[in-house]
């Protein structure tokens, strides 16, 4: 049986030692100027965001542009956005692992890290969007109390959110850390000073690289992948319930769970592409994060983007088919109305049209195109949430209560701040942890002898 020659997953004919050296280099050398510039910018942006949040907590939720009837705005939009971003990491690390997609090895570590950081960014918003964050920080959790006892309202999708997102964060963190253990041990073993040795030593949990250890590790990793897999589907489904359970036309629809999951993976992959294009350039990882990887991810972007486009069309069809005048009205308003047509058009352009060139290999392998497209996709996905959250609320049942929502300067500052937090964390990660899974990559290095085992 003849078959096409597969592209190697790691280029440049690396040896095991070279892999270790390449991945560990950023950790063991003094950071570059580029890193410092990036880190300063990101952390300043983060601090700016946090000071704005502090200002809001001191003065009032009204700093945001939210109003009656649009009581949710930037904060919920951005929450959904970041949760969505996180999905690519879990998908790459868990589902692709279970499907034995070996090409994931080059990118899974950074994708997982991205998940963790995205969920951290996301987690801030539900808390600060409440009117009294000092209470919602714990009143949203069911804790034993003497007030009756007074539990949370288990019928409320916001409570489901709390469970879904906290579970997701926990599992993602454990999964990521488990994968990191052998690599941290490698870093530990290479450490030249006492301090480094101690810290990585503690983090490595006594990993010695024995066959027994590897065998337990593999089983554990497999189980965790199994646990994480349903989360890819469940988290964003639950997030979509925040809207689908609502009575508001434009929210109250059963298409939301799959539509949200597709959108989440779509935006997540776009974010991975954005980050990896930068990372492979800055940290010299082109041999590990190859064109093949990027090509594959662009295929996923194309597929999920088209799924999302299909969902937009389906929504419209169902709005007409349902015969519900309110739903028909809101969809016509989105596309042709005078409230937020610009947002809808931005969403369609970025999410449906921009990924279309990825049908062609040339586009899939053009760094500039994919970088631009991935950023537009993320803009588009933010606007998708904007369209869902804002347009539906702005024009609901009683025309008397309709109102135009506008982002306040505070909103924009905090949105920017969340990117600052995300990039700060990501840059720290690049600096202190192996960005490519050393152990896994070694398993997929093309060697003359098929089936070489871990080194």
């Amino acid at each position: 049986m003849s078959r096409l020659e597969e592209e190697p997953l790691v280029e440049g004919g690396k040896t095991y030692r070279q892999v270790t050296d390449d991945v560990c280099r950023p950790l063991e050398s003094f950071p570059t100027k580029k890193w410092y510039v990036a880190f300063t910018a990101a952390s300043l942006l983060m601090l700016f965001g946090f000071s704005l949040i502090g200002y809001m907590i001191a003065t009032g939720t009204g700093q945001s542009g939210i109003r009656n009837p649009v009581n949710w705005g930037m904060m919920i939009i951005t929450f959904v956005f970041w949760v969505g971003i996180g999905h690519a990491g879990t998908l790459i690390s868990a589902i692709l692992f279970l499907f034995r997609q070996k090409w994931r090895t080059g990118i899974n570590r950074s994708a997982e890290a991205m998940t963790i950081f995205a969920v951290i960014c996301a987690g801030i918003f539900p808390l600060i969007h409440t009117g009294r964050p000092w209470y919602s920080a714990y009143w949203l959790f069911p804790y034993p109390n003497q007030m009756g006892p007074l539990w949370v309202n288990f019928r409320s999708p916001l409570v489901w959110d709390v469970f879904a997102v906290s579970t997701y964060f926990t599992i993602s963190l454990v999964f990521w850390y488990t994968g990191l253990v052998p690599d941290i041990a490698t870093v530990r073993d290479r450490a030249k000073n006492w301090f480094r040795k101690k810290i990585y030593g503690v983090l490595a949990l006594g990993w010695r690289g024995s066959s027994r250890g590897w065998s337990h590790y593999e089983v554990c990793y497999m189980i965790l992948a199994g646990i994480a897999t349903p989360l890819v589907l469940s988290v964003h489904s639950v997030v979509s319930f925040d809207f689908a359970v609502g009575i508001i036309p434009g929210w109250h629809t059963t298409i939301f769970p799959p539509y949200f999951v597709a959108g989440a993976i779509f935006s997540g992959f776009a974010m991975v592409v954005t980050l990896l294009v930068i990372a492979r350039e800055v940290f010299g990882l082109k041999e590990y994060i190859t064109m093949q990887h990027l090509d594959n991810m662009n295929k996923v972007i194309l597929a999920t983007g088209s799924l999302v486009g299909l969902a937009y069309g389906t929504e419209f069809f169902i709005a007409w088919y349902s015969g519900v005048p309110y739903e028909r009205f809101i969809f016509m308003q989105r596309a042709f109305g005078d409230y937020y047509q610009w947002a809808y058009l931005t969403m369609i352009t970025c999410n449906v049209l921009i990924p279309q060139p990825f049908w062609f290999k040339k586009a899939r392998r053009s760094i500039w195109w994919m970088f631009t497209a991935s950023i537009f996709v993320n803009i588009g996905m933010w606007f998708e949430r904007f369209v869902i959250v804002v347009t539906s609320l702005a024009q609901d049942f009683l025309p008397s209560s309709w109102g135009y929502f506008r982002l306040s300067p505070w909103d924009i500052g905090v949105l920017a701040g969340s990117f600052g937090l995300f990039f700060t964390l990501f840059l720290l990660f690049c600096r202190f942890l192996p960005t490519v899974s050393i152990g896994e990559v070694k398993a997929v290095i093309p060697t003359k002898k098929e089936g070489a085992h871990h080194g």
Binding site: T59, G60, T61, G62, G65, I66, R67, N68, P69, V70, N71, W72, H129, T130, G131, R132, P133, Y135, S136, W139, L140, L150, W151, V152, N153, R155, S156, P157, L158, V159, V162, D242, V245, G246, I247, I248, P325, F329, D338, Y339, L393, A394, D396, F397, L398, P399, S400, S401, W402, G403, Y404, F405, R406
Partner: protein, 1022 residues
Amino acid sequence: MNAAEEEIKELRKRQEKILTQSDRKMWSAVEEHGESPELRNQARAKEFVELLKDADGRPVAELNTGVSRRDFFKWVSAAGALMTSSACTRRPKDLLIPFVNKPEGYTYGAPVWYASTSPSGLGVLVKTREGRPIKLEGNPDHPQSKGGLNAQTQAEILNLYNPERLQAPLDQSGKKISWSNADETIKSALAAAPAGSVRLLSGDFTSPSLASAIRNFSDRYKAQHTVLSSLPYIHLARANEMIGGSRGIPEFDFTKADVVLSVDCDFLGSWLRPVEFTKAFSSRRNLHRENKDVNRLFCFESMLSTTGTSSDARYSIKPSQQLDVLLAVASELSKVLRFDPSFQEILSSYSSDKVGAAVGIAPEVFQEVAMALAEARGKSLVVAGGFGPQALEAQLACMAINVVLGNIGSTVNTGRHLVSYEQSEVRFQELIQDAMNAQVSVLIIRESDAAYTRANSDFAKACRKIPLIVYLGRETNDTSKLAHLVLPESHFLEAWGDSEAYSGIVSIQQPAIQPIFDSRSFLECLLVWMGSDQTKAKDYVQRHSGVGTAWEKTLRDGFVQRSQAALNFSPRWSAAAAAIAAAPKSGNAMELVSYASIQMGDGSFANNAWLMEMPDPISKVTWDNFAALSPATAKKLGIRERKPSDDCVDQIEIKSGASRIKLPVFLIPGLRDDVVGVALGYGRREAGSIGSGVGANAFALGRQAATGELQLSGQEVEVVKIGEKHLLACTQRHFDIHGRDNDILQRTTLAEFLKDPKAAKKIEFEGESMYEKFHYPGHRWGMSIDLNKCTGCHACVISCQSENNVPVVGKDQVSRGRYMGWLRLDLYHWGEPDNLEASSFEPMLCQQCESAPCETVCPVLATVHSSDGLNDMVYNRCVGTRYCANNCPYKVRHFNFFQYSDALAGKVNVDAASPLAMMLNPDVTVRTRGVMEKCTFCVQRIRKGVDVFKAKGESKVEDGAIKTACQQSCPADAISFGDINDPNSDVSRMAAKAQSFKVLEVLNTNPSVSYLPRVYNKGASS
């Protein structure tokens, strides 16, 4: 035996050993003394060692930590004591002053009610808590207002506690002086004044004792009293004088009127006595299947008013066309009824064809109006209002038509008249002239803002020539700035007084609180200046109000009725006909329509934050007046239609003669293309931190008509767009119902309704649910609102604000969609902007749904269903996710985006140092920031009401015993409230009517609020 038990045994042994070995004679009770030590020790051992047992009853080992339980508690208490002592600071000084001697019959926490009277003569009940008035309600026994109240009177509570009131007499430099100083200055000036040089200037008032005190004062100091009514209603009295022969405005009895024709007369909103008129008018809007007795209102108006929106047919005119319209109707009437020959002659040139062509209204309309009026002879009423160029002539025409229709004695009741001391504007001009000629030595001004309402007169200039100007008022204004002495006047809730709005009905103004500041009423001032004592005011009122002997009963009731002479009415036509023939004709120019808005009136309430933030009923604009233009005119001026995203609008300049004002444009449907409408009462310069500089002063465009009276409307104006933008804060931006009538606001015509009461329903909805119905074992509170009665007067809105401590958020926050009013009056229009078919208000408040969308989504159970059908808000549990507000299809939930309750509009602090804190209703939580709030059906009233009946041992509350704040104030009686579990309650009977509907019934929320549809009486033909 387990280790624990063993250890405890060991412990006990040791303890016994210690106790028995001790040779001290210990006894802790007298009984123990003399007992054998053994017994005693046994008892002790038992006393202090108690074995902890686990679930199975086995003893559990006490922790052997080396620290005994006693020691532990010693240390804990010592540490606690230390901590508390270190946290101790000096307690801040509080001023809690209890009654030294508790008044008899007083219970702490229970409200005490007093009957009193508002300055405009509305009967009020003052609710006081711990000695401070917190709420005004209509006095249901009052023969005229019958429990109704308007928004302005509701807002008097805020005026009472306003920290910006004058707090002590001030001299010209603004320095505080004592009353005795001020009195001395005034008395010596009065004594030194040459005869006839003392002048009093006041606004119109209704108090007979004040009138008599002014007479006494004038006699004593040879003073002249000038009454200047800021809004001229003098034409009514003059017209009556010219035709009927006696001065006085007859009572208009809308209860008897089957057909009403209103020409520019906003009698349901701002004209004369809107509360009484609304009460009477709405009593004729009860719809039953058999009831064909519903009144019919034709409205010709130049601005869109609440009367226009309540009308059955409305036509647009401009102010100078009032007379044309009335005469066209009269000329149609003259085909069937006999007018006086002198009139008949005039009418020949006002045929409906001719007028119709000039006015742009089909001649058939006049025929229809005339037919309807003629059919209802003796049971019809024609009224005209406005401040136009033909104000007098229009009144004469009205009177003539009413006479011909035989309405005198029925709907125009000459047996009772409106008491007014208003004088002709000419008297005011004389005052100015005299001052200019230095013939005025002392001018005492009482609460008249002549410098503002007569901004383009020479009043301010003349004042400079007067040696002593004394201003008495509650707050500073443009006029007080001209005064040499500024004296603080008591609020009507602080002083004795009376009111006789309608002849023969004297209401007593009983104070409900000691003056909060160092103030006096006008009556008290006059008494003091006449050498009497201010404490004599009560006696004076008692003597001069004509109450007679039944003083205490009158105080309790709030009013007394006495017989009085009927107005003499014998029609004389010639003068009237001559006047009408000489009336100014309407032109083709752009005309100004100045009108008194419901919230601002003549501007005396400009510093009242509740009223400033009250949405204008028609435009829903807050904190501003505006230039109302028709969309076509705006387009012609190059003004773009306002997009949803536009917060700011274009401004225009309105020029009349030498005066000009600048105003933002607001498009109002149903206006003629050649009018521009502007509300009066805005643009005050010295109105405190709330009212200063808000909007523009339309009084400045007024002019003196040929008759010498003030003309505010109908003058020719020039309108130009200027390049500036202005922020307009509106609470409603969309007035088109988008074809959702069946779900939101059902309406039909009377003819259709009589055929089928369900005519307004286009689709019937039968709700099905997967869930079991909620079970309400006792009461289930519900409300029914009759859209046919609601006029949009907003009395309920301010009543709710007062009752429920609803905060004022300020213009900026309103423009950001954060208005907090729990109850709003949605307004919808049908038809095209240039051809307004119909309008209707719809009060929208929490619908207290049975399947409430808000309840399921709250993550912390801060909004929950009560067993009597309320959606309870648990404010201190709310964390503010705002999910409930999103999921509420009626959008009646309001979120505290900031700490709104701390200040009025962010400008006037409401804290312990401010008297405003005393205004708050102690029964209602003041909400903090980050918390959602909404209408609770006045749950505090429900709970109190239920308690009263429980205390009596009854299980059910009597129907009507509990009234919500909105319901109580509604002058139209549009709101019914009660137990919908009780089929015989008023609200159940309303809800059970075939035409009753619920808003958004299709969502299956099953609200507890039902509505009765708007039914337009288009006559039997349509």
